[in-house]
Symmetry: C2
Subunit: 411 residues, 2 copies
DNA sequence: CCATATAGTTCAGGACATAAACTAAATGGT
DNA sequence: ACCATTTAGTTTATGTCCTGAACTATATGG
């Protein structure tokens, strides 16, 4: 009548719960305490014992393993006029990192993220990806990845894994992109091996909005464990963080706000549906409503977007009402989503963040009209994530996996 | 940067991961294997060892504890011409049960549910709860509960806990009902102690739709671990099952489909918003659209509902179009919800199930229009849960908790 | 130079799961 | 009647891991 109890599943995916599992859990526990402290705190073994509620003896033993695995390093003694034996600081090994990558419509990007989540190096390469084949794009990304791998080696950094974010629906298990309409990809298998150095400890594939949501998480207050990230790009994506974890739903595509119905009698969407949010608040929809739509001999999107901002700055119609209509629709979709997820914080990213000043009033008004009882307590924020958001989020999530399963690296 | 790792949290909510936790996990594992087998299979210790991937020795020891805790009982040897020492069957103790209760608009109900999830006894008491005070309702439920407790005692059943479902938003931790507009409750604290015998091992409070979703889970195929249950009562509620677990969101109110916006320019809802699903597909909304609305001297709702069915059977307008409009709106809300949750099965309960034959065509058409890409693979079912659904679901969930944490009962 | 204080390690002890040996209780052939 | 065979369940020796207490290491300050 029930699934195997969660506790049992937590041990090691179905394996019998034996004494060794306790160590796995405690390795992760110690590591999470170290990670939570941040890099400047330099916790001692004694501190960790207190924070983790383990004994000094256990912590000592566990830390020995983590040091051997290269996940943690000891750092110079920190003395400031206190009695007693000086403590030895422990921090996440700064010489380990994860490769984060992103393929988007107008660029590819890659970067190195260390175990504390810090972006050490990155490179963004503008590239018209929708006008070349998937394998060309992947080849270009492979080259970019090679450059960053070389950079890592030059700095003595060991790459432990990688994460890739793409603007579309992904199947993480099979490393396939199911749909990425804005890239022109329909069913694309990714050659993961070409992107990472051997032996690749871990590779994960992310939807761009989900990866951005994970990156956004680092910028939020520590208590803010639940929020919806709405990514306004060519399409409108969403990433949902529940209880500090990414919620992706049964097939991994939850949070997709772009196809929430906001106007039953609205326009037909690229998904075939009618009245989706994307038909009013997607980039092309806004541009079209502002008389800057894609046409036979229209300018490239980036240029038309610049024109949109110029028009907005100048206070011109129909740009203003195009954006305001988008805001109104966004408010409707957000009202429904907040209700369904029971989340009260929304973070807007991508063009929604950039359009904030023109869009927010309409969106807030719309939320007030359609969900007055939650409008008051809802926190509507705009993200400050830049172009590296998605790759950082993808990498950081892989880092999180590594830190949650350190026993994989302890021999 | 991260919450304490899930694995660590799973041990025992923050307690240090020590060897004793392994036993807790394995007690639960053994119990879940026994529960999963159902009552007719009568697994032997050897069977359990195989299914749980634990050794015979461990299972023997664990079963000894479970027998001592009274969660499991041995059942007569089962022989049918096979060689070898006969096995001793193990089943969930049939002499243990949980008290399930429900308060709804038109009735109160209570029942006894055993550890296998079977409803052993129940009583439904029609009662116009909206026209009496909360404490009167609770007193009546207390009496009902007393009767079932007496019945349990008469049958030698020990009550291990209880669950109560109410049609409104609840705060499980504080045992308060935040909103139950259809009961006329605004902020109501529940005196839990009065409802259960001492010592109450466990008491939980549920939203009615969530409880029904949990009950529905038992009726689904074993693989169907993800679905949205939509409860059409006076209000429209929802319960979301993800990965075989109830998903309630950060504040515990996720899944509420009733206030999804399906018509931006629609009617004003009781929640203050505009165009909520409930303004078209709620019981009163349907009745009003069928010219059977509540008025100064209108008949009681139950009677008007009967009139609605008569009109539908007779194929009369405006009843038919009222229901069809409701179906259309329901399709829109479901389209958005399926997208946001990435779930592909929906189960309709309450009046939606009863209205199926008149409502389904419009709903399916609407889903096809607004989400053609998922309409094909979506499974739309109608529930066969009766009036006892919510109380069974609430009780079953408490049973699940007990089975997942058997160490609480092992001395 | 020694009392004091704090950090970290060592060691005996206990709880568990495991594997293998062992006991228990049936069937079936001779 | 007897014994080989088969399966169920228990006992025992072993190893892992955490724990608490004793112990070592290394600083400060009078």
């Amino acid at each position: 009548m029930r699934q195997p109890a969660t506790t049992a599943r937590a041990t090691t995916s179905g394996a019998p719960g034996n004494v060794a599992d306790v160590r796995k859990a405690n390795l992760a526990r110690v590591l999470s305490v170290i990670a939570a402290a941040g890099e400047d705190e330099r916790l001692s073994r004694a501190d960790i014992a207190q924070l983790s509620q383990l004994t000094k003896a256990s912590v000592s033993s566990l830390v020995t393993d983590l040091l051997a695995a290269g996940l943690v390093t000891e750092i110079g003694v920190h003395r400031d006029g206190e009695r007693g034996r000086p403590s030895v600081g422990l921090v996440l090994n700064p010489a380990r990192c994860v490769l984060g990558m992103e393929i988007n419509v107008d660029y590819i990007a890659a970067g190195l993220v260390d175990l504390s989540g810090k972006l050490l190096a990155h490179e963004v390469l503008p590239r018209a990806n929708h006008s070349s084949t998937a394998s060309e794009v992947l080849a270009a990304l492979g080259e970019l990845s090679q450059r960053l791998q070389a950079a890592a080696q030059a700095q003595g950094l060991m790459i432990l894994g990688g994460g890739l974010a793409v603007p579309g629906l992904v199947n993480e298990e099979h490393f396939t992109v199911l749909q990425a309409p804005n890239l022109g990809w329909v069913q694309q298998e990714l050659d993961v091996a070409a992107l990472l150095p051997e032996p690749k400890t871990r590779f994960r594939l992310f939807n761009e909005a989900n990866a951005s949501a994970l990156a956004q998480q680092q910028l939020m207050d520590a208590q803010e464990n639940d929020f919806l990230f709405v990514s306004g790009e060519v399409g409108i994506g969403g990433g949902l963080i529940i209880d500090a974890e990414l919620f992706v739903g049964p097939q991994g595509h939850a949070g997709e706000l772009g196809h929430v119905v906001i106007a039953p009698d609205g326009k037909t969407c690229s998904c075939g549906g009618r009245g989706c949010l994307e038909t009013v608040a997607g980039q092309e929809a806004i541009l079209a409503a502002a008389n800057l739509g894609a046409g036979v001999d229209s300018a490239p999107r980036q240029e038309r977007i610049s024109q949109l901002y110029q028009a907005l700055e100048a206070g011109e119609e129909p740009a203003l009402s195009a954006v305001s209509e988008a805001g109104k629709s966004l408010g409707i979709a957000v009202a429904s989503a907040l209700r369904l997820y029971n989340v009260s914080t929304v973070v807007f990213g991508g063009h929604f963040a950039a359009l904030e000043q023109w869009m927010r009033p309409a969106m807030e008004a719309s939320l007030q009209v359609h969900a007055p009882s939650i409008a008051g307590q809802a926190r509507l924020l705009c993200s400050t994530l830049g172009q590296t958001g998605a790759l950082v989020g993808a990498a950081r999530s892989v880092v999180g996996d590594l830190l949650e399963a350190p026993y994989q690296l302890v021999d």
